[in-house]
């Protein structure tokens, strides 16, 4: 039965599989030990605790082992392993081998379990009296993640999917019956060219660290409920919740920056289900964070805080279910397909949901809930309102994104709204308006009780200012063309900027510990300002109404209508305020760069600005064409250009010109025209003119030796086309009593030039000109967009991260002084 196959390297796979099983077993042992350590009545007995720790260390080391084995396999190109064969190839540079590592779903789980192990070790080191219950939860979650990598048959059902699966076990093909099958598999499938990008190296680790870190506040909340330490867990959890919010937010924005810089979505956010899912946990976590702080300062909103923190982790699990179960098939462009783990993913969510609900229900009577109502003019009340609105925003996103889930659950056949983007924009903008206004005026309120008259005076004063500035911004940027909701978001954001600016100014004068939240709010408001203006007033520069096949009654709301423009090589085209010219292309496999020259003129016709963009198309046999944009960045706007269509030949052939014979090549030109001219004469052609500068009597043609009886004459020609000058020297040759002529091609001018005759009696020569008809000349179709003020979005993100960092420092310090 056991066949021996030649050339396989089974050791790293076996070793890796052992590490996978070890990591699962150790996580299970750790969870059980920590559980008994927590519940054990004998406080002096530390044996369970020790066992829990050691098991967790073994789990961490096993995960490292898995990582090392898999990397070894990928690094050495052992294509007998399905994972290495699917996602990498020999030509892939090392830094992309690293990203090949988390290209597949198994790699994603591995990254997640790795970060969770790191966080677990941090908790063992720092959590002190919280270690036992908190680590019970973390280790239990670790059990689930480890199970995702098992890939073992268990009562007829496959649990998890192992990265060490062999190719011959993954795929059925006759080739695997040969013992030497490996000698036929010389290379892997390689990485999707779109992922061969430095963002793919840094975005997934960041995002997974963010997702993994949400387990920590969850574990603290469960521990607090479980151990009836209702109030104490809050202070412990705040820094971790801040950390989670910061990293998760960074990861999500990195994703959108990646999309903007190198994918051709034509924007930074497309409301794709997978994108939406990544912000569910962020919204609930940030909401939870605010009410945690409310509780810490006033004792209000305990239930909401606990609920949102617990929910955040369940949202993380739901997110991973949505993107990995294949359920989004008909609505998302970039979800994974099902690896047969649908029910495993579902049970992971359900188990943690049950744990959450169980503790909330069982402990409901003991929760420290205040009977007293919050004051209307208090900071805590409005922070609470804000958190609820973040939750509502998340609720709406879940509702729409999960339409395929509802369809599966209820057997319905509802499709998402037709104008999906418009739907999301309007409803989410309404929530954003409320939230930004709240982040503004809540700054003027104090905890518990505020002087009402003073509050109203300052609030209204700032509001009046905000209205003025908004009016100005709306006028300058042209936002008034949009739905009024977006103007209200603008108002809210600017108000928030002003109010938090004041807090920051005060903070710099002395109360520096308050700076964190102010900075984070300023960052958030700036992000919204940037997103709103750039997405709302984005302009299509390549508007094109010239097509001869006009489509009647076309829905103008649709995105891609009349936005593409075709340009022939070296044939300048007017596009918006620019004159664009396609200059040519350069190739660095698999990247084909198309040089597009942009020129801007002033009223007198002088060039005021000129630059070249190089949008890129990756052409590979397996993946076809995948375009990446190139963007000219200005301080206040971006000019974004990407290729949307290419001639068929460019797509299919990687320069097979050599195969075409001479005669064949002439088909690409108009019929030849012969001109008899003398030195100094000029020939006109459609695209410019040619001057015969001189005759070269000592012309040489490469690789053809001439004897004394042979003659070779070159015609030195100067070609002027589209304001550029080219030189060419066609050659006329008499060798061994035969006549040859060597044509010269001037690609950029679309010309082929021949010296066909020498007429001594007239002292003239005959130059034959072949001109390429326009439609045979190389062309590209491209789309160009202008994104105004997009830098506010990126700057806002950075500022928000700084704000989160300042807050983490502050809350950590408080923890030590407590």
């Amino acid at each position: 039965m056991d066949k021996v196959f030649q050339g396989e390297h089974l050791l790293p796979g076996h070793l890796g599989q052992i590490f996978v099983i070890f990591s699962f077993g150790a996580a299970l042992l750790s969870a059980i030990s920590y559980y008994f350590a927590t519940t054990s009545a004998n406080k002096l007995d530390t044996s369970w605790l020790k066992m829990g720790r050691w098991a967790f260390y073994i789990n961490s080391i096993s995960i490292l082992g898995v990582v090392v084995c898999l990397f070894y396999i990928i690094y050495n190109h052992y294509f007998e392993y399905h994972y290495a064969w699917s996602y990498t190839s020999k030509s892939l540079p090392v830094y992309y081998l690293v990203s090949g590592f988390w290209n597949g779903q198994e790699g994603g789980f591995m990254l997640w379990t790795f970060w969770q192990a790191v966080l677990g070790n941090v908790l063992i080191w720092r959590a002190k009296s919280w270690e036992k219950p908190v680590m019970t939860v973390v280790a239990f979650s670790q059990v689930w993640l480890a199970s995702m990598l098992l890939g073992i048959e268990f009562f007829g059902a496959r649990i998890g999917s192992s990265p060490f699966l062999l190719l011959r076990n993954a795929i059925e093909a006759p080739i695997f019956s040969k013992p030497d099958y490996l000698s036929f598999i010389k290379d892997g499938q390689g990485m999707n060219p779109l992922l061969q990008n430095y963002w793919m190296v840094i975005h997934p680790p960041t995002l997974f660290l963010g997702l993994a870190s949400v387990v920590v506040p969850f574990a603290y909340a469960i521990a607090g409920l479980w151990q009836k330490r209702y109030k104490e867990w809050v202070n412990q959890a705040i820094p971790y919740a801040l950390f989670g919010g910061m990293i998760l937010g960074t990861g999500v924005i990195m994703g959108s920056l990646w999309a903007y810089e190198s994918l051709s979505f034509g924007g930074f956010w497309a409301w794709d289900p997978v994108e939406n899912a990544s912000i569910f946990p962020w919204l609930t976590l940030v909401g939870g964070l605010h009410v945690l702080i409310v509780y810490k300062n006033t004792g209000h909103s305990y239930f909401t805080a606990t609920f949102l923190v617990l929910l955040s982790f369940v949202m993380v699990l739901y997110t991973s279910f949505l993107s990995r179960s294949g359920i989004l098939g008909e609505t998302s462009v970039h979800s994974f397909t099902d690896l047969g783990m649908f029910w495993q993913l579902v049970s992971y969510i359900l188990v943690f949901l049950v744990i959450m609900v169980y503790f909330l229900v069982v402990r409901r009577k003991e929760l420290p809930v205040t009977k007293k109502d919050e004051e209307t003019y208090s900071r805590e009340f409005w922070m609470f309102v804000g958190a609820i609105f973040l939750g509502l925003s998340c609720f709406h996103l879940i509702l729409v994104t999960s339409i395929p889930v509802w369809n599966t659950m209820f057997g319905t056949k509802v499709a998402p709204p037709n104008d999906l983007i418009g739907h999301y924009n309007i409803i989410q903008a309404s929530f954003a308006m409320v939230i930004t206004l709240l982040t503004g005026f809540t700054q003027f309120l104090k905890y518990k009780k505020t002087d009402v008259t003073r509050f109203f005076i300052t609030t209204l004063l700032y509001f009046a200012f905000a209205v003025l500035i908004t009016a100005l911004v709306v006028y300058v940027t042209g936002l008034y063309k949009l739905h009024f909701v977006f103007l209200l978001v603008m108002l809210g954001s600017i108000y928030s900027l002003l109010a938090n600016g004041k807090v920051l100014a005060d903070a710099l004068k002395g109360k520096f510990k308050l700076a964190g939240s102010a900075v984070a709010h300023i960052g958030f408001a700036l992000m919204l300002v940037g997103a709103l203006i750039s997405a709302g007033t984005r302009e299509v520069v390549s508007k094109n109404e010239t097509g001869s096949l006009n489509i009647g009654n076309f829905n103008k709301a649709a995105g891609d209508v009349k936005e593409n423009i075709m340009i022939y090589k070296n044939d300048p085209v007017k596009m918006g305020e620019y004159m664009v010219t396609y200059l040519g292309d350069s190739v660095a496999e698999p990247n084909h760069y198309y040089k597009v020259d942009y020129k801007k003129f002033d009223a007198k016709g002088n060039v005021t600005e000129e630059f070249v963009l190089r949008p890129n198309v990756q052409i590979s046999a397996q993946m076809g064409l995948s375009p990446s944009p190139d963007t000219k960045h200005y301080l206040l706007h971006d000019l974004y250009t990407h290729i949307t269509a290419l001639p068929q030949s460019a797509a299919t052939a990687n320069s097979t010109d050599a195969d075409h014979g001479e005669a064949n090549d002439d088909k690409n030109y108009d019929p030849p025209v012969a001109h008899q001219i003398a030195v100094g004469d000029t020939i006109a052609f459609k695209g410019g003119y040619i001057v015969l500068k001189s005759l070269n009597k000592e012309a040489r043609v490469q690789n053809i030796p001439l004897t004394n009886s042979d003659v070779a004459i070159g015609a030195k020609l100067e070609v002027v086309s589209n304001g550029k000058t080219y030189y060419a020297e066609p050659v006329y040759m008499i060798k061994d009593k035969s006549v040859f002529d060597f044509a010269r091609i001037v690609d950029d001018a679309g010309l082929k030039l021949r010296l066909t005759k020498i007429i001594p009696e007239k002292s003239k020569v005959e130059i034959t000109v072949l001109e390429q008809p326009q439609n045979k000349r190389p062309w590209i179709v491209m789309r160009a967009l202008d994104f105004p003020y997009i830098n506010f979005l990126w700057a806002g993100t950075v500022i928000m991260i700084i704000g989160f960092l300042l807050s983490i420092f502050r809350r950590n310090k408080e923890l030590k002084t407590d």
Binding site: S86, A170, I171, A173, I175, F184, I185, K186, D187, Q189, G329, E330, V333, T337, D373, E374, T376, V385, I388, L392, F395, H396, L399, V400, I403, V414, A415, P416, P417, N418, D419, H423, I427, N544, T546, G547, S548, L549, N550, I551, G552, F554, N555, A557, A558, G559, D560, V561, K562, N564, M566, A621, Q622, M623, G624, L625, T644, A645, Q774, V781
Partner: protein, 136 residues
């Protein structure tokens, strides 16, 4: 009544409003024959008819692309899209079109295609691997 109860009611009201607005703006999946009967936009799931012509000629119009799709019930219709031909269109296995009928043509405002990506393809291409090995 306590303030938090009032606020709770407001939240519930907003949640219901969100559900209703989502439901009312939601679309339906249908076929071409259903599309012919309605004036509103809908989504049609189907696959590309590879026997018939894909028309895209950038020289004539860079924003006109037409092709034929067979819906799930087997009905076939000419589809017109006001943009360029999406990359890898010929390889698509399934197409989800959003749009409406105009005369006898279906005008799509949005195309979502599912390609047999390499993640699911898992077909071993031996000849290709061989051809590559010569270069190494």
């Amino acid at each position: 009544m306590k303030k938090s109860s009032i606020f709770g009611l407001i939240v519930i009201a907003i949640a219901i409003a969100v559900i209703i607005s989502t439901y009312s703006s939601s679309s339906t999946y249908g076929t071409f024959s259903e599309a012919k009967k309605t004036a509103s936009e809908l989504r049609v799931v189907g696959h590309l008819d590879k026997q018939k012509e894909l028309y895209y000629d950038a020289a004539r119009d860079a924003n006109y692309f037409s092709f034929y799709v067979k819906d799930k019930k087997g009905g076939e219709c000419k589809v017109v899209f006001g943009g360029t031909k999406p990359q890898d269109f010929e390889r698509s296995e399934q197409i989800v079109l959003t749009g409406q009928m105009v005369g006898s043509e279906f005008h799509a405002s949005h195309i979502l295609m599912k390609c047999p990506s390499k993640y699911t393809q898992d077909k071993i291409n031996v000849t290709e691997a061989k051809a590559k090995s010569a270069n190494i």
